[in-house]
Subunit: 160 residues, 2 copies
DNA sequence: GGACCTATACTTAGGCA
DNA sequence: GTGCCTAAGTATAGGTC
């Protein structure tokens, strides 16, 4: 997330992956503890360090507390567990929806900017550049709203 | 962490605390999933939502998986070694990657169009519109490349 | 309350010693 | 591997609707 965008896939290089793991684990721990403090929530974090699968995972705020929280969680009926499930899939679906939304907005802004450019060119050259029927319609709409604004300004000055 | 520095203590205001909780929980979830992906680690996240202490906590990636990890953590032998089902997930990941790519392109085009507009306005008015330093730099770059093109054309004609 | 915005604060990828 | 640096990329506090 710096210098370069870094794709969200398993980091191939071994030492790089370990380094990133250490960095991000610390960042995550900070976030978790902040959330616990700011919002007064009971949280725990458990991570298995890669390459050390045989070893014990780390737990936050402490192994016993983490265990306590999870046991509490396991004691509820499965049905409720499912309801409370923040599933991987729904999380990904949310991300997809969000991205689609961002994309829609970016594309809409693109269209608006393009029309502005066309209008500018038309004004500069005194004639309409060669465009398709859709663009022409958009330009017409833009020109209309500009005309409207001009008339409003004129009225304002007249009333002055 | 924005607009103001926000002290690291329990947020007194009730609705503010809830809002912050929601935001940060999502941020945390994203970080957790990124860590899992990038570093190929087994992680889980369990949070009790405040004001709903009687209710069940949320767990990520899912309650059963969270429970499994913690049980493993407690060194209680687990019989079942279920295979992870990743096909659906990888499909969704592909979709996300594609969308991110599209978005990136749209945004880049966006910036280009904005600069074109600025240049047009500058040419039409004979002066640079009031813009930020970044835009000014972009305009300067654009103007540079335009100059370059002009010079190249001149050279071509001269060689003719 | 919830969705969106945006100025700032924060995190971190890639480099370097 | 360890530690530090800094440019980019993210998260989010406070606000608006």
């Amino acid at each position: 997330m710096a210098r370069k965008k870094a794709k969200l896939v398993r980091i191939a290089n071994d030492s790089t992956r370990r380094a990133t793991f250490k960095k991000r684990k610390n960042g995550l721990l900070k976030k978790v503890s902040e959330l616990a403090t700011l919002c007064n929530v009971s949280t725990c974090m458990i991570i298995y360090t890669p390459e050390e699968a045989a070893m014990q995972p780390e737990a936050w705020p402490s192994p016993p507390e983490a265990a306590r929280i999870v046991v509490q969680f396991r004691n509820i009926p499965l049905v409720e567990q499912r309801q409370k499930m923040l599933s991987q899939e729904s999380f990904l679906s949310q991300r997809i929806a969000k991205l689609e939304d961002q994309l829609r907005r970016a594309e809409r802004k693109n269209r608006e900017l393009s029309v502005s450019l066309l209008v500018n060119e038309a004004l500069a050259s005194g004639r309409l550049p060669v465009v398709g029927i859709d663009d022409a319609a958009a330009v017409a709409r833009a020109a209309d709203s500009m005309l409207k604004e001009v008339r409003e300004r004129i009225n304002k000055e007249a009333a002055w």
